[in-house]
């Protein structure tokens, strides 16, 4: 059997499934297949988590004066109050001394 006969026999036309009409009538309902919908959901969830993580990281770093001048006793005092002088602030003590 040559290749042309083989292709003619195995690439015959088929009947369209009945669901096709419903998909054409209601394109929004069926436009995405389940796999693609799942992929979109996962992507959206990932973007949401990254956004939350990004905003939290930004919030943690939103003490610009403290970040800019961490060793300045005046800034430490302004932001931390009396806690600026506890045992953990060794570098601050150096400054004060």
């Amino acid at each position: 059997m040559n290749i042309e006969e083989l292709l003619s026999q195995n690439l015959r036309p088929v009947s369209a499934p009945p669901q096709l009409w419903a998909r054409v009538l209601l394109p929004g309902e069926h436009h995405r297949s389940h796999g693609r919908r799942l992929a979109w959901c996962l992507t959206a969830a990932l973007i949401f988590l990254m956004a939350v993580w990004g905003f939290r990281a930004r919030g943690a770093g939103s003490q610009p004066a403290l970040a800019r001048a961490p060793h300045s006793p005046a800034v430490q005092l302004a932001y931390r109050g009396p806690r600026a002088f506890d045992a953990s602030t060794t570098c601050l003590r150096c400054h004060l001394n």
């Binding site: 083989l6 369209a16 096709l20 009409w21 998909r23 069926h30 297949s33």
Partner: protein
């Protein structure tokens, strides 16, 4: 549902926005569109997406059909463009896994020399689905729709020589890819 109206009447009615006329047009062409989509993509779900997209385009662009070309050629061009627009890399994970599984299954069953007809068909369809898009669409239009070289050339907007050349290359590639299968069958 039968195509009771003349093609031209149906198209005119579609252009006027009559939903029944679109149903008639859909019914008359659904198998043709779905067959091309399925043979081109090699995947039922992808074929449904292509067929749906084609009919939605048809619905929105029927106003632009002026009747200068034959309606069939216009529709073929629409489904072909939809097929070619879909990226090759869009193959889903499931067919990929299926291919991977088949590689192992093929080696195990190659000694049996008793391939079932459905499996043979799957092999051929997979080989066609792996052709380059320009060769694949020519093969599908030729063997699924039975179009002549001139008709294919009209749909693809190229010369008959180009069609012949693409088909020839596709034949050679398919012969090479399917040679093992044919040896087993013989």
């Amino acid at each position: 549902m039968e195509l009771v109206m003349d093609d031209r009447e149906v198209i005119e009615a579609c252009r006027r926005g009559e939903p029944d006329a679109f149903a008639v047009l859909f019914e008359a062409n659904k198998d043709r569109v779905y067959s091309i989509a399925l043979r081109y993509s090699g995947d039922e779900s992808e074929a449904m997406d292509i067929a749906q997209e084609t009919f939605l385009k048809l619905l929105s662009q029927i106003q632009t059909f002026r009747g200068e070309a034959r309606f069939e050629s216009w529709l073929y061009r629409m489904v072909v463009n939809t097929c070619l627009d879909r990226k090759r890399g869009r193959r889903r994970l499931v067919p990929f896994m299926e291919d991977l599984f088949n590689v192992f299954r093929d080696t195990r069953e190659s000694a049996l020399q008793d391939l079932m007809r459905t499996e043979t068909r799957e092999h051929i369809q997979r080989a066609v689905a792996n052709l380059a898009p320009d060769q694949r669409i020519v093969v599908v239009l030729r063997y699924t729709e039975g179009l002549s070289y001139d008709q294919i050339a009209e749909v693809l907007d190229c010369s008959s020589g180009t069609v012949a050349s693409r088909l020839n290359r596709a034949h050679k590639l398919l012969e090479r890819r399917l040679s093992r299968l044919r040896e087993v069958k013989a």
